[in-house]
């Protein structure tokens, strides 16, 4: 397997992550009203469940979405 691309992408993600983390401020619970909005959730919403399912069948790539990483069929 060629790892060259992943080794190019990983540092970019790591740097972006560090950049964000370095600008972090501690947010208290009472300041989280916008972050706690239902559409700010850092994951897929229930209504997207079947979309993820058809995409994993119709595409070669899957995963990294905090969801299922196997099982099922996708035969059609």
């Amino acid at each position: 397997m060629k790892h060259a691309t992943i080794f190019r992408v990983l540092p970019v993600i790591a740097c972006a992550g560090l950049l964000f983390l370095s600008s972090c401020t501690t947010v208290k619970e009472y300041q989280k009203n916008k972050l706690n909005d239902g559409e700010m959730t850092l994951g897929n919403r229930k209504v997207e469940k079947t979309e993820l399912s058809f995409q994993s069948y119709r595409e070669g790539a899957s995963g990294a979405n905090a969801g299922k990483s196997g099982g099922g069929c996708g035969c059609n």
Partner: protein
């Protein structure tokens, strides 16, 4: 299978026992109570002309109706730990033109049909004071030619200031693929209906780190390491060689996948949210892919929002792919499945979400309805539409 059901029964017994505990420390333990019910229904329809069952040519017409019923119960034990039990039952029913072509003498209507059942159960114990939780889950998926059993365990820990959270998860799937061969390739002749099963096992380690950056921005980094072993082809996919001979698809019995994802959600002003996602994926079959998605929920008022979205996906082909009639007998592995070919795709649409304070139709417990439509188009002559509905009762 029996072991999985015994484990599930044990899990239920433990929860029942826990739910009946008496308070001895002053903290008021609370039995498991209904917290939320979600109903998700969707209708999916696709059409294309690269069916793998006929060697990469032919109709891919398919319709699927999916219904998922999800119930969440929440309770507290005498040590003030929060227990959540999430039970889900999914039922899909599909009709597919390509599956008709397992027998080439059948007509070409979308008459082949099957139903898939997929129940799952997840139990989570969360210590809200210490900021960590542990969860275990079981799942299964059953359809005529495929059986899957899964188990998973995960651990999450929040940072001291509750602004960051790490989650690690291990998932295992033990699957069985029935060997339903194209009728002309069955050793016992076209009428043979004995379908032995072959194993397909998956083990996946996942991690995620989520971080609040400020009062409007939060991000997450996600990654999986997935190893699959066993029968990874599909038995009824045909491959036509350049000499005109027909074969069953043949792929390696091992596949290692690495997807890495990044999410960032930003609340812009008082009415806009930017939800973004990027994923890089690579595996040892030769697929490298990029996925980028942006969704912009617009709050029309405090209870109603509209969310247009766009997703772009691109991938390279697996090393073993060639179109109809181009494989040779010199190759060890071969497939004409266009889902493993080089292509890019666009998926776009919009959703609408409504949470009236007095409940939908004045019913207080019916507190949310969300409807979402998406159109999907591949660069290789496949397009589909999906409409999904989520009803939430609380």
């Amino acid at each position: 299978m029996k072991r999985i059901f015994l484990t599930a029964a044990g899990l239920f017994a433990l929860i029942q026992l826990f739910a009946q505990q008496k308070d001895t420390t002053g903290f008021q333990a609370r039995k498991l109570k209904l917290d939320e019910i979600n109903l998700v229904s969707s209708y999916y329809h696709q059409n294309g002309n690269n069916a793998a069952v006929t060697g990469g040519i032919g109709s891919q017409k398919l319709s699927d109706i999916a219904n998922v019923f999800d119930v969440k119960l929440v309770g507290y034990d005498k040590k003030a730990r929060k227990h959540s039990l999430d039970a889900e039952l999914g039922i899909d029913h599909y009709t597919s033109a390509s599956s008709d072509k397992i027998d080439l003498k059948s007509n070409s209507s979308a008459s082949h049909a099957d139903t898939r059942f997929y129940p799952s159960l997840t139990w989570t114990v969360e210590n809200e004071q210490k900021g960590h939780s542990i969860a275990i889950g079981l799942s299964s998926s059953t359809e005529f030619d495929y059986q899957s059993f899964g188990g998973n365990i995960s651990y999450s820990r929040k940072t001291k200031n509750r602004n960051g959270e790490f989650t690690g998860r291990l998932q295992v799937y033990l699957d069985q693929v029935k060997q339903v061969l194209p009728t002309e390739l069955r050793p016992g002749g076209p009428d043979e209906e004995h379908y032995p099963g072959k194993n397909r096992n998956t083990i996946a380690g996942s991690f995620s780190w989520s971080q609040i950056i400020n009062q409007r921005l939060q991000i997450a980094i996600l990654g999986d390491l997935v190893q699959q072993n066993g029968f990874l082809s599909l038995p009824f996919y045909r491959v036509y060689f350049n000499d005109g001979s027909v074969h069953q698809e043949k792929l390696p019995d091992s596949r290692f996948k690495i997807p890495i994802g990044f999410r960032a959600n930003y609340f812009l002003g008082d009415n806009f949210i930017l939800r973004s996602y990027y994923r890089y994926y690579t595996d040892n079959w030769g697929i490298r892919s990029h996925t980028a998605e942006l969704e912009v929920p617009v709050k029309l008022n405090a209870f109603l929002s509209v969310s247009p979205f766009y997703r772009y996906y691109t991938q390279t082909a697996v090393k073993y792919f060639a179109p109809y009639g181009q494989h040779t007998d010199q190759q060890a592995y071969y497939t004409s499945n266009y889902d493993l070919s080089k292509f890019n795709s666009s998926f776009f649409g919009a959703g609408i979400r409504w949470l009236p304070p007095q409940g939908i139709l004045g019913w207080q417990h019916f507190n949310m309805i969300e409807l979402r439509y998406g159109h999907y188009k591949k660069s290789i002559d496949l397009q589909s539409n999906i409409i999904s509905l989520n009803l939430r009762f609380k």
